[in-house]
Assembly symmetry: C2
Homo-oligomer: 295 residues x 2
């Protein structure tokens, strides 16, 4: 693959690691981030700073974005100094933020009017997956731009799936988060039951983490709960945002998801208790307090 001019917007924990893989592969990266300091390590490695998302787009054939929430996506892509104001015909814009399928469709439409292609491409796999380039990447949008950026995505992740039309990348990510929500309430309630019985959580996980009840969540986050480790892999604040998008989409489709709604409520309590920057396994502490189960 020849060296390309690639735009990158968003150099937080995920974006910073991902952008680094493009630099390592020999591409010329043009980047923008709200806080310049967080991009310093990438600039030191040869990335060029831009003052606006527009400038990023003016210099790049493909522009990636991975920012916080849908309103941030809207600002950097559709805003006054946004990517679409600078993008040339045939530019491909790839938004990797977990964001709303509706917004993905809106970006797609506005881009299309300028001859620009837009893909929604949220990821799964967390900070470790970003660092090790083992992310799962779920892509929605037209096949042609997908094929064009696929070699770049392959630098960032291991499982690259084109799910269908615009928005289907985001919808797939919503399926992922809904699945995690249910699994997490199972993990937490199961371990609360064990703790209330005075059992060793690790001994219980040794058994139930194997067969029909096994999951990544019990074997990874369950172990952290057993060790009293509530540090973030994935922030509660971000998970609450994602569940909120899923619930809004479900409501739009007249789809009742009582399990998701319940879990969202308990994670909202986690936010109320000041847990927004805890890892998602912090739900255990919320439910423990709720049950007056003091560690």
């Amino acid at each position: 693959m020849n060296s390309m001019h690639i735009g990158w917007i968003g150099t937080g924990v995920m974006g910073n690691a991902m952008c680094g893989h493009l630099i390592d592969a020999g591409h010329q990266v043009h980047l923008y981030n709200r806080t310049r300091k967080k991009a310093a390590n990438l600039i030191a490695r040869g990335a060029r700073w831009c003052d606006t998302p527009r400038e990023v787009a003016q210099r790049s054939a493909v522009v990636f974005s991975i920012v916080g929430a849908p309103h941030d996506v809207e600002a950097v892509l559709l805003g006054d100094d946004g990517v679409l104001t600078g993008a040339r015909k045939d530019t491909v814009v790839v938004d990797m933020t977990t964001s709303s399928p509706d917004l993905a469709a809106m970006v797609y439409e506005q881009a299309r009017k300028k001859g620009v292609a837009a893909l929604d491409a949220p990821v799964s796999g967390g900070d470790v997956g970003a660092r090790e380039a083992t992310l799962a990447i779920m892509v929605g949008g037209d096949p042609e731009p997908f094929e064009k950026v696929k070699p770049l995505l392959a630098l960032l992740g291991r499982h690259i799936a084109h799910m269908g039309a615009t928005g289907t990348g985001q919808h797939t990510k919503m399926c992922n988060q809904i699945l995690i929500a249910g699994t997490m309430i199972g993990v937490v309630e199961s371990l609360l039951y064990a703790r209330r019985n005075g059992m060793s959580l690790d001994a219980v996980i040794d058994v139930i983490g194997q067969g029909a009840a096994s999951s990544w969540a019990i074997n990874t986050l369950g172990r952290r709960i057993a060790q009293g480790d509530f540090d973030p892999g994935f922030y509660i604040r971000h998970f609450v945002k994602d569940m909120g998008i899923a619930l809004a989409e479900a409501r739009r489709m007249n789809l009742s998801l009582p399990g998701l709604a319940l879990v969202h409520q308990f994670y909202t309590a986690a936010m109320a208790q000041g847990g927004e920057t805890m890892g998602t396994q912090g739900l255990y502490q919320v439910m423990a307090r709720f049950n007056n189960l003091v560690e």
Copy 2:
């Protein structure tokens, strides 16, 4: 290990396969089942029929039971012609039914008065695990009888764990079922969301079945849902029984488990809809009807 005289009560799908492994290992099995016909294959292989659980106990050094529900356990172990009326001093009684920890404690106490040891030893791994002797077996009770029967349990399963005092085997199984309950609502709601969006369930599972959302349930039962296969691995009827025990125990301990309670309600609706002999993945159909999502 020398050939022993071993009692076996309960030759349903699970018990039949498990008992067969003891026969294959060269032990003389004495068995009882409510319906004699279901034991015919084992009798043909050399097991001896007994007319009552008492008779089983009179002939055996170790007695296993795996029957339907707690009231069946009570009948075969504590009833008029039950195991404890025939058991000799130093007999070990091993109940492998998923049953209540309270009942396990009662059996333990009544057995102790006669010099008989009792273990609760429910299993996980389903019919496949029973056939292939790969079950997880969670044992509660005293260490001495556990060590005595451990070589026999090793003929039935792969992961044999002594969890602690009487009842802790059952409690561990409850942890397992609580974990499955949460995971199942996640699986079902995730796939409903995908279906409502017109997405291929298999394509979605290909992605979300890998990373932080991965579980045995999504990759095994999710695949069956995608194929429209609702045949039982594990009956809804049995799962509802198990969740009922877990909820009763949680109530006794003043432990609020809202996720489990919600899932139990939806599986109760599955029973109302005639799904008691469907596999647990049948929850998908219940929630699909609830959402007027016709396949």
